[in-house]
């Protein structure tokens, strides 16, 4: 081991924590994960489709689990051109809250 290694040692636990948070957020909301998220996704898409055309992969739905409640995050990227009468806005962020339990497998 060189001297540089000795002094340049970075803590690895924060990396572990960040990687876990990322992968678990993905897995909890992912395909095998929750029926609830899939259902919400389909219904939200249907409602939006009535008014604007959005691409399916521009809608992201995440369910994040907390101690007493979970947060449902919905990100919808609206196309600038496809927006109807009110002038097009930049990609809208619609945070919503749902007091549902964890995304069950």
């Amino acid at each position: 081991m060189s001297l540089r290694n000795l002094f340049n040692k970075r803590a690895s636990a924060p990396t572990a924590r960040d990687r876990l948070q990322l992968i678990l957020a993905h897995e909890r909301a992912g395909a095998g994960g929750s029926d609830l998220v899939m259902l919400l996704r389909e219904e939200i898409l249907a409602v939006i489709a009535k008014h604007v055309t959005v691409e399916r992969d521009k809608v992201q739905i995440r369910l994040e689990r907390g101690k007493d409640m979970s947060t449902l995050g919905v990100d919808i990227e609206l196309p600038v051109t496809a927006a109807p009468k009110p002038p097009a806005k930049p990609p809208a962020k619609v945070p919503a809250k749902a007091s549902s339990k964890r995304a069950a497998a």
Binding site: R10, A13, R17, L20, L24, R28, G33, G66, R102
Partner: protein, 271 residues
């Protein structure tokens, strides 16, 4: 009314069997009547950790199939008379367990004991889901390590969906036991901290079991760690866990075997 507790984790080798034996023994030491049940069909080990491997005659599958009565299969602990073991079968495979058969055995166990502790096999297959199916509460055993935490997250999802309690729309009570924790390494930033794991898994903490030689020592001699050396750090952590399970508010600590310098200087070898 008996409580059925499942000890589960997803990942193997994190301390489910050690925890089952330690919690079972600590509950029995506190005066409760306890049955520990090995669900790891084909890879049984609870008998070995409890020191009862040479006394197994009948097992869970014999009882499920009606080849033996529950009383014939239950092995009473030689050290604690209110602690019994129902071993798994070593020769059969887990498909021999039927839903109805397991339900019947669990009902019978509920009538006989205050606590029924089910040692789940690793994985998320049938053996693991059967072990958790009848539980009233769950202890999720996790190491402060990425693969263990990820698998625990998966198991928590199953506890909330595949158990009878979840199917009835009730909330499954879940507790975390963090095993093999090393506070010094966590302080140096080389190990996930307790709070990191709690934040990620979002279930209440039941105990922190420090990494300790005593755990291996206890399994070497086939004695639950709470009986083998009740004053050791892991034993104290498990005994506190049991007090919390019984509703006693015990402040959370990481027990330590290490002595301070003063202690080292002034005490000759404690027994």
């Amino acid at each position: 009314m008996a409580k059925v507790l499942v000890v589960t984790s997803g990942k193997g080798g994190v301390g489910k069997t050690t925890t089952t034996a330690a919690l079972g023994a600590a509950l029995a030491q506190a005066g409760q009547s306890v049955a520990v049940v090995d669900f790891d069909v084909g890879l049984r080990n609870l008998d070995l950790v409890m020191g009862a491997e040479r006394r197994v005659v009948y097992d869970l599958i014999n009882v499920v199939n009606g080849d033996a009565k529950l009383n014939q299969a239950l092995i009473r602990d030689k050290r604690l008379e209110n602690l019994s073991l129902l071993p798994a079968s070593q020769t059969r495979d887990k498909d021999a367990l039927t839903d109805e058969g397991v339900a019947k055995v669990m009902d019978e166990l509920r009538e006989k004991f205050d606590w029924v502790i089910c040692d789940s096999p690793a994985g998320i297959e049938r053996g693991a889901t059967l072990a958790m199916r009848h539980a009233d509460l769950a202890v999720v055993v996790t190491n402060p390590e990425v693969s263990s935490v990820r698998d625990s997250d998966r198991i928590i999802g199953l506890l909330d969906s595949k158990t009878l309690k979840a199917e009835r729309g009730e909330i499954m009570e879940k507790h975390l036991i963090l095993t093999r924790y090393d506070p010094a390494r966590a302080d140096r930033g080389d190990m996930l901290k307790v709070d990191d794991v709690l934040e990620i898994l979002s279930i209440p903490l039941l105990a922190i079991i420090p990494e300790s030689l005593e755990v291996l020592r206890a399994s070497n001699v086939g004695c639950p760690v709470t009986m083998n050396n009740p004053l050791s750090a892991p034993a104290r952590a498990y005994i506190d866990a049991v007090r919390r399970l019984k509703g006693d508010p015990v402040p959370m600590t990481v027990p330590s075997d290490k002595k301070s310098l003063l202690n080292k200087l002034f005490t000759r070898r404690a027994a």
